[in-house]
Symmetry: C2
Amino acid sequence: MGVIVDIHGHYTTTPPGLGVYHDALHARLGSGATGPLPELPEISDDDIRASIEGNQLRVQRERGIDLTIFSPRASWMEHHVTDAATAQAWARASNDLVHRVTQLFPANFAPVCQLPQVPGGPLEPCMAELERCVTQLGFIGCNLNPDPSGGFWSSPPLTDDYWFPLYEKMTELDVPAMIHVSTSCNPAAHTLGAHYLNADTTAFMQLVQGDLFSRFPALRFVIPHGGGAVPYHWGRFIGLTNREKLPSIYDNVLGNVYFDTCVYHQPGIDLLTSVVPVDNILFASEMLGAVRGENPQTGASWDDTKRYIEAAKLTDGDKEQIFELNARRVYPRLIVR
Amino acid sequence: MGVIVDIHGHYTTTPPGLGVYHDALHARLGSGATGPLPELPEISDDDIRASIEGNQLRVQRERGIDLTIFSPRASWMEHHVTDAATAQAWARASNDLVHRVTQLFPANFAPVCQLPQVPGGPLEPCMAELERCVTQLGFIGCNLNPDPSGGFWSSPPLTDDYWFPLYEKMTELDVPAMIHVSTSCNPAAHTLGAHYLNADTTAFMQLVQGDLFSRFPALRFVIPHGGGAVPYHWGRFIGLTNREKLPSIYDNVLGNVYFDTCVYHQPGIDLLTSVVPVDNILFASEMLGAVRGENPQTGASWDDTKRYIEAAKLTDGDKEQIFELNARRVYPRLIVR
């Protein structure tokens, strides 16, 4: 067996200093966002090591995962905050901390960045932060939020030319984006149990309706959480494209769009791997993520998706693609040490 | 084999007269909604027969479906229209037409009504229309839209006391509601490929978070489209309830909530029937609905869900529950002739 790459992990266990900074940024917003930005409290290498060793690194070792593609905590991206200075400072601090993790554990983590998006705001700060992260800090991708409003869906579809400058920068840097929303500000939509999954489905359908990849043939998106509702409704999506005379999903979308395996039970992974081509599936567990604890029927952690893939009806070659080769293809800047 | 009841069909093939009325209502809205409401054009029994016989009735016979629980076209409910008089006139006309279908074909169709919801509006008109339909016209259920705004999710969750008067009326009349949104007004969310599925997932999670059924123990909801993303992510939902210390989905939700089988491929139905208890699954195909045409690999229509259930690993007793007995339990006013 080759290398096992988990392409979807978030730094959900940051040292308390980042939370202090978060609160200080919000305190400034609460008083009109007029004062100077707060200072990031000192976070030592030992603080970072302690936050990782007993958590993600322990689970990696227990499960036999070699490397996690690692980004800031998704629900904390908080792109609904409209103050651009806050968004930029927060993204920079969050990304710098992920960078430090990858410097301390270069064999175990590869960095993906948060973008300083604000609802409806210009994308230039996002492009600048992406460029800084990739060219100066060795980041290999970014997370792109299709709904910075946090559950009100006020942004144009991902196929709109609003997003094109960012896609040009991604193409120039040869990095993919995971389409990942942040916390829901809408009381109708639970962050982890509705908003995340809805965003995956919504973004996929935007790409199905559009013609984005004929304009950006090298652009690559990863849809997390097993593609939301999409693989479960694969027949619906194929039938819809037929009905609406849209081009084939296989030709129009699947050359550029990938699904991760954050689906937390065996029947879900069996479905995913039976309907989505193996070229389009990337191993991921999102640990330590949305779901914790163990399935009492199996004794295994719900998010131990490696087990489900190992148990799926796939050839060894298919599994190697899902565990390693597809990740190397989608994230060409990935360095496996 | 007993009776085959399809619990999810919409009158998507209405005679042109209803479209003329729809356009006249919109023309009045376009000129300030101040003039008198238009008159519904005459629609003859022959018009109705012609709209049904070559469509839903033909497909029923081809597939061996005995009876369809039938409601107005979902995408045309248009609850985003804020004028209450329009909403009431439109719901009444749409429901009356469904009633006429069930009078002309009493063995083949049982009626479910549209409610005159408006975003954030009072629910009394909905309760009045529900009472009229059930007590005067023999309707056996209603469709309830959790997002009348059409994709902006401005309404409170279904567990909010805003909705309670309607639940009291549903309980008094002993009718269930299918949770079904209407057209998406949000360019980010495709109506059939995103908004419908997102609403199913969102509504289910609202019920998981809440405690609605201890207050309304006899209330029954059907989540269409196979429950949106929920069964595919069953492990995620179980794990989330564990993590957030919410009560068990089995105890807190599944006594009152049902999924239909509008999932248009065999792997999806196999997943649904393997993770959701058979007591909670109701046969449905939504024909003629979102998806038309045939799977080139099988030659069968995508929405011929009866085939998928017949091919699923289920006992004959399970299939009888899904095809008939659960529908009789959830819709006690259903009369099978």
